[in-house]
Subunit: 224 residues, 2 copies
DNA sequence: TAGATTGTTAATCGATTAACAATC
DNA sequence: TAGATTGTTAATCGATTAACAATC
């Protein structure tokens, strides 16, 4: 029963659909057509229908999509209807920012523990979660059925910690360290490389500037 | 002189090339072939050559690429050889995490100011940067030639602040708020939607589990 | 029933990979 | 010169868009 592989691009778009559907629900909207949604989201209606039909027929001809139903179905596809136990390794600002993001719990992500090597942080409590020593990491992961680890530590420490997490049976790493981790095939990695994001922004700013200057030059040439 | 538009996918890969080249430099490697680099980065050599040739011929037949030269050329392309003045709006954990990330300065990103609405934060100093009231935002942006604003505030406040930034002449917004901003065509937005990243991770974990279960079922069927 | 809108097939577009002549 | 490796063209692959019959 080999299911057709879903493309990465489709998966990447699902959370955005989910967000828009959530907002529609809040606004009390009960149904929406692919066309109306495409206008709001600035994508094509065709793409929305193609994307959703990878997972099944959630709509109804002549009616559109039921917002609430589609919302819960996408949640199931993304697996955010189930509970995920998570630990945060690195209790600095970034680690604490993640710990403080309340909505994670609403989506089934339960922060079980935080870890650091800094003795001044160990013992502190953030949002009801005690910061522990990384020495206790493996034991804690095993004892608490932790599937996901958020890695908010410097890149120099990341490979070693990743190895230890893998040996403790972690299923996935949410990697904020500025390096690519090497893990076995059955361990999932999702990278958040903020410095790369900022460089992309830099590129966009510069090419926008270049464009503006070109247009200006064009106008002045026209004048002379 | 309409330059060929560079695809988004290519731009998205440049910072990663830059990172690998930086590491090669640190290791004292002077030159590298597209093939050797492709093995390290787990991409095809063809893609590397195609990507780079969007911007010019940086290599030499029979030799490969000079690491240092390519590194500086990519920096130019990304615009990280120039200085970018930046403000951070929202001085919570996430804003402070960004302020504390030292490498930004090395890449030409200079944090000029931080802003918050919380009176308890206003006046505090983070990494030598005073936290100011958002009341002073527009004036500060104009007076300090600020091009980029990092938005680390709740989504409810984001649209209003974005409007104010635009009216103050900002060129780009690095958006961490969980919403899509509406800005004029000549203002650039780079989104970092952490909750979406976590949902993608969730999907991957679940589909990996499904795969493992399938394989297990397959094995047991084989046995019986 | 008539109108609306999906699900799905076909057409187009773009991105990746392969191949190889050019050339260091 | 011979070997290596690029730059670039051509082939392939995949993703997006368009179109429309199916159907609520």
């Amino acid at each position: 029963m080999a299911e057709k592989e879903i493309s990465k691009a489709v998966i990447a778009r699902l959370p955005r659909y989910y967000r828009y559907l959530g907002e529609l629900m809040e606004d009390g909207v009960e149904r929406i057509s692919s066309n109306d949604l495409s206008v709001r989201m600035k994508v094509t209606a065709s793409q929305i229908r193609q994307d959703l039909n990878n997972f099944g027929g959630f709509g109804q001809q002549g009616y559109g999509y039921n917002v609430k139903y589609l919302y819960t179905e996408i949640a199931k596809i993304l697996g955010i209807d189930r509970q995920h136990n998570i630990v945060i390794i690195g209790a600095g600002n970034l680690g604490q920012a993640i710990a403080n993001y309340a909505n994670f719990e609403k989506r089934g992500f339960l922060i079980k523990g935080m870890f650091d090597i800094n003795p001044r942080l160990i013992g502190l409590v953030v949002r009801g979660i005690e910061i522990r020593s990384v020495d206790d990491l493996e034991q804690f992961v095993r004892d608490n059925d932790v599937q996901i680890a958020a890695l908010t530590i410097p890149k120099t420490k990341a490979p070693e910690i990743a190895d230890r997490l893998v040996s403790a049976g972690i299923k996935a790493i949410w990697n904020f360290a500025h390096t690519d981790l090497v893990v076995p095939d059955d361990v999932v990695v999702e990278n958040v490389h903020l410095s790369e994001s900022l460089m992309r922004l830099s590129y966009k700013v510069c090419s926008m500037q270049d464009k503006a200057e070109e247009e200006k030059a064009e106008r002045e040439k026209g004048k002379s």
